[in-house]
């Protein structure tokens, strides 16, 4: 018999390394000869989209189209440390560093333009990579023309910035501290499942997610993270287990180690809670890790709702479900 159930889970995730560990990101932004604006960062884009996020941030601050932004590929000899792509930290850390570097560059654009135009800052306006005086918009300089003039003065149009927030080391006896993590992301998921009581197979029908991410720099990217993380959570809940017996992995391949496929992917409905109240760029927080955390318990709770049995040892395989159902019938 097929039985449906609904379960929920609400989670928190303190992101950044935190705990007093020196955690920072350095980025620089410069006007390039090629007609582009170059960002130097070592932030690894593992598919999550940090390069897109910092492109949007730089474009926003510098008032240019995103196509104008070029990012140098990560290279120890051409970039400074941006910390790791982990701990859900890149949007927050490198995002802030790029925002600040872009603001630094913008300030210098105003500074040098005010010399060129013999004006003060309030008389200047910037649009699409051009700077001009309000009273004479026809006489304008592009960022690149300005950069040439700055070069003649023996300087260059670039700025470097870093983001290095303080966190506290926890007390070793109690784990207490004033600021352990830079911020927390919160996620609630509600999951609908259908359990086949004859086979023990669980199908995930719907996943409703509400995520407090402060501000989505790119809402589609955030949704993508949530959907990917959820599918990973479905794997953890229902099928994934590297079986290691006496130190030997019994299933070191994707025949023996199952991960969800597109056929296991549910219908997603996602809403983003954006209070813009975080210290991240434009109020953003990270979503990378929190995207996966609520899924497993929400599924476990939905399975309980459907069939009245609870499995305490992951993954919740059909075998475990059938065994638990059998025991439940026996105990009745």
């Amino acid at each position: 018999m097929k039985k449906q159930g609904r379960g929920m889970a609400t989670i928190m995730f303190g992101f950044g390394y935190g705990e007093g560990f020196p955690d920072h990101s350095i980025a620089s932004v410069e006007i390039e000869d090629s007609g582009k604006i170059l960002i130097r960062t070592a932030a690894a884009d593992v598919g999550q989209g940090v390069l897109t996020v910092i492109t949007q941030i730089a474009a926003e601050v510098l008032k240019v189209k995103p196509e104008i932004i070029r990012i140098i590929p990560g290279d120890t000899h051409l970039t400074k440390s941006s910390g790791s792509t982990s701990a859900t930290r890149q949007t927050f850390f490198t995002g802030n560093a790029v925002k600040e570097a872009s603001e630094g560059l913008l300030s210098n654009i105003y500074h040098y333009a005010s010399i060129e135009f013999r004006s003060n800052h309030v008389e200047l306006e910037i649009k699409d990579g051009y700077i001009f005086r309000n009273d004479n918009p026809n006489y304008r300089l592009s960022y690149w023309e300005l950069a040439d003039k700055v070069k003649e003065r023996g300087d260059s149009l670039k700025a470097e910035a870093s983001f290095f927030p303080h966190t506290d080391k926890p007390d070793p006896k109690t784990g207490q501290g004033e600021k352990l993590y830079v911020a927390y992301t919160f996620v609630t998921q509600i999951v609908d499942v259908e359990v086949d009581t004859d086979t023990g197979v669980v199908e995930i029908l719907n996943v409703y997610t509400a995520a407090d991410i402060g501000k989505a720099i790119n809402p589609k990217n955030v949704e993508g993270q949530i959907e990917g993380g959820t599918v990973q959570g479905i794997g953890m809940a229902l099928m994934e287990e590297q079986v290691i017996k006496e130190g030997i992995t019994l299933n070191p391949n994707l025949t023996g180690y199952l991960i969800p496929t597109s056929m296991d992917t549910p219908r997603f409905v996602t809403r983003l809670v954006e209070n813009e109240d975080s210290e991240g760029p434009f109020g953003a927080k990270g979503i990378g890790e929190p995207a996966t955390i609520a899924t497993t318990p929400a599924i476990a709770n939905a399975i309980y709702d459907a069939i009245g049995v609870r499995i305490y040892h992951l993954p919740i395989t059909p075998e475990k479900i059938l065994k638990a159902l059998k025991e439940k019938r026996k105990n009745k």
Binding site: R6, M8, T10, M12, G14, A44, D45, V46, T52, T55, Q56, A59, P66, I71, D75, T76, S81, S84, T85, S86, P172, T174, G175, Q176, G177, E178, Y181, T209, A210, D212, G214, A216, P219, M236, E240, E241, Q242, I244, G247, T249, P252, N253, L254, Y257, R271, V273, N275, D277, E279, F282, E289, P290, I293, A294, A300, N301, Y312, H313, L314, P315
Partner: protein, 425 residues
């Protein structure tokens, strides 16, 4: 507060790397090719816990096309590596211990992958077997053999806020359960792979190999090889997923050694099997959790004990396990919290970072507890969560007062709203 409208932030612009990826233009590590390139394979441990007594590479060396085989005897100056603790050997030497099936015994460099693989099989190894410790509970016993020099309990962390005893006396309902999670592989699409090139002029070793932490990987490779940091140049190819698995060193040091030894470009790509056996896992946790609540449904106390199996090497294990504990209450106000977390060495594949870093395992426990309690109290699970959830000014298990961006209640309300959740469903 009304925010200024934005042109690009908050907009769904296309991912900047999407076009290169879908057209096949993007260069991943394994796509990089040099004409005179050599291929590397590793002879790995033959037993999960054993002393290496003899290694014979003579037969392997005779195969035409084998260019060089490196064993620990060739690199006495090379040091251990590791993310937090330098406890991982680059190669296991004679008289040294292999601690899991991923430990490297020899580096084979050949003209082709096939030749290298064939040579690996011809390396003969004699070992002195030791007790294999696969269960962290066994590892914690007093009479268990030590996997490293010191205790098998790599680290113990504590958490204490308020008075947990008092908290449980205030509770009308107490629920205690044990939760267990499994070893998980991060299964990024891209398996560990890289190219190493030694430039004799500058004496710089160039590595094209993915890493989640460019400059830290560079530092670890450099310290292991005893070279200045600037002699190791890592260039990030396009990365095909990581999820924590590319935080640890994988191909990097072996490639650097091979490039120095042969003065030719060397490529090393793991197989999926090798990746699963040799590279980090998500920690299996054993979580004992006790939660107390008043009959009106307010949480009063949470006590937790965590045992995290970090396998043969520390990696980021000690950070993962206690970070899990630090999240033990979930986003709920609990005045009285007590926890202890042990990170334990075993002879299993070492565990490191994976999406959620311990907090993922912990959420399975605390959110199961929340569900169990809501059933026991017959309180709607949405209402139960709402009335306990953090506000501005709430205090986490670490006593951190939340001053910014505490939208947890909104997430509960929004999720419930999407489903048309009614009390009692």
């Amino acid at each position: 507060m009304k925010k200024m409208p934005k042109r690009y932030v908050g907009k769904n612009i296309f991912k900047v790397d999407a076009q290169d990826k879908v057209t096949g233009k993007a260069q991943y590590s394994d796509d990089i090719y040099f004409d005179d390139m050599l291929y590397l394979k590793i002879k790995r441990a033959t037993y999960p816990h054993a002393y290496l007594r003899r290694i014979d590479i003579s037969k392997a060396q005779k195969i035409p096309g084998v260019v060089k085989i490196i064993t620990a005897a060739d690199i006495p100056e090379v040091k251990n590596f590791g993310l937090i603790i330098k406890d991982q050997p680059v190669l296991i030497g004679i008289g040294r211990k292999m601690r899991y099936m991923g430990d490297a015994l020899a580096i084979v460099i050949a003209e082709s992958k096939e030749i290298a693989s064939k040579a690996v099989k011809l390396i003969e190894v004699e070992v002195e077997k030791l007790e294999v410790i696969s269960d962290p509970l066994r590892a914690m016993e007093k009479d268990a053999p030590l996997i490293h020099q010191d205790s098998n309990i790599l680290a113990t962390h504590y958490l204490e806020k308020g008075d947990v005893k008092k908290g449980f006396t205030q509770a009308d309902v107490i629920v205690e359960n044990e939760y267990k999670t499994s070893f998980l592989d991060q299964v990024p699409l891209q398996i560990e792979a890289g190219i190493g090139v030694f430039d004799p002029e500058t004496e710089i070793i160039k590595l094209w190999a993915a890493t989640q932490w460019l400059h830290d990987t560079q530092a670890d490779v450099a310290q292991s090889l005893g070279l200045p940091k600037e002699k190791i140049r890592i260039i990030q190819p396009v990365i095909g997923g990581a999820f924590g698995k590319k935080e640890d060193i994988s191909v990097h040091i072996h490639l650097a050694l091979a490039a120095i030894a042969t003065k030719r470009p060397v490529k090393f790509s793991y197989t999926r099997e090798e990746s699963m056996i040799a590279q980090s896992k998500r920690h299996p946790f054993i979580i004992q959790m006790k939660t107390g609540v008043t009959k009106k449904g307010y949480l009063t106390a949470c006590q937790v004990e965590v045992i995290g199996d970090t396998g043969a090497y520390a990696s980021s294990g000690l950070a993962v396990v206690h970070k899990g504990m630090y999240h033990c209450t979930g986003p709920y106000n609990v005045d009285n919290v007590k926890g202890v977390a042990h990170t334990v060495y075993t002879n299993n594949t070492y565990c490191g970072a994976m999406r959620g870093f311990g907090a993922t395992q912990m959420a399975f426990a605390y959110e199961s507890q929340m569900d169990i309690l809501s059933h026991k109290l017959e309180i709607d699970p949405v209402q139960f969560r709402l009335q306990n959830a953090y506000n501005h000014g709430s205090s986490t298990p670490n006593g951190q007062i939340l001053t910014h961006s505490v939208g947890v209640k909104e997430t509960i309300k929004e999720a419930a709203d999407m489903t048309g959740w009614k009390e009692g469903r």
